[in-house]
């Protein structure tokens, strides 16, 4: 159980860091990003990488940071409700990654694959954690 909690928290923290780095590099920097082979650079600079006024990397920062927070809350308070919320948030992240990187944009860039791997692992471990949690909504750390 502890291993799952640690891996989820670490992967979420890694995802937050990765998304923040991509946001800094691709949105805030005044340096022009060159195109190498039509992968990540094309994707990140295309209009499709924006959801309204928000760049997908910023959505990644917020999403992964929420997962870190939820994981820490689950560790602190336990309970099926928080675990369920964690699974729901991870599922939303999983769907967003799959839809955004592979379906809508049709481009499989390396960083998208890394993010997809992270979120899939987080989703699987959080689901396992939910399934193995006691049925009652007891308080107190479980992991």
């Amino acid at each position: 159980m502890r291993g799952r909690s640690v891996s989820t928290a670490l992967l979420s923290a890694f995802g937050t860091g990765l998304s923040f780095w991509l946001y800094e590099k691709q949105v805030r920097s005044d340096e022009i990003l060159p195109c190498l082979s039509g992968g990540c650079d094309t994707l990140s600079q295309s209009p499709l990488a924006w959801v309204g006024p928000v760049h997908v990397s910023l959505i990644g920062v917020v999403g992964y940071a929420s997962l870190v927070a939820l994981r820490l809350l689950t560790c602190r308070y336990g309970g099926r409700l928080l675990r369920g919320l964690l699974v729901a948030a991870a599922s939303a992240g999983l769907l967003f990654t799959q839809y955004g990187a592979l379906v809508r944009l049709g481009i499989a860039c390396a960083w998208c694959l890394v993010s997809a791997g992270c979120i899939t692992t987080i989703w699987a471990t959080s689901l396992t954690s939910l399934r193995s949690a006691p049925a009652s909504n007891q308080t107190g750390p479980l992991t």
Binding site: S37, S46, V114, T120, T128
Partner: protein
Amino acid sequence: MRITARLLSLACLCLVAAGCGTRSAPATVNLTPEETKVIADSGAGISLGQTDAPVTVIEFSDFQCPGCAQSAERIFPELKRLAADGEIRYIFMDYPLPGHKHAVAASQAARCAARQDKWVPMHDEIFRTQARWAGAEDAKPVFLDLAKEVGLDIPAFEACLSDPTVKDAITRSASEARRLKVNATPTLLVNGKQSALNASRVRDLVEKALKEANVR
């Protein structure tokens, strides 16, 4: 379940490693003055400014690359002005990347505009409207609209689009890029020295080259 989680963790680690490994960096390209002159005089690119200008700026570019569109918006206006003032000779080398399906057609449209002395406005318009045609199934109607907007003779433009020598020139330009091991667009060379992709850095490099040439 534990095995599944471990397998997934392993898969994730492999993906992280793949992500770190596959993101190759742009190659550093530096040319000697002789090589720069050979490329500039080869006729493989589009040339702006006087042939005897003290500084030569070569840009390898792909019309479908978003970074090249940013370069066209932020860096090209300054280069255009310097070329008009006789301070630089600017060479635009087409380098359509394999993943960009309309890049060659865009280069053809620009080169056909060049035959009617309208390369600059067509270049600007193609980049400005990149989002409009890059995702289109067929980009030709957009290029025809742009040709009308910049005031081209449309029958001559259409005839030019099917001229194989135009495509040959683009292929020659791209071959030159590959020969020089250019692996990214835009790649900007100021008197053969690769510049950072930032308007102020390009300006600094041009200023320095002009001082070295005793122009300033």
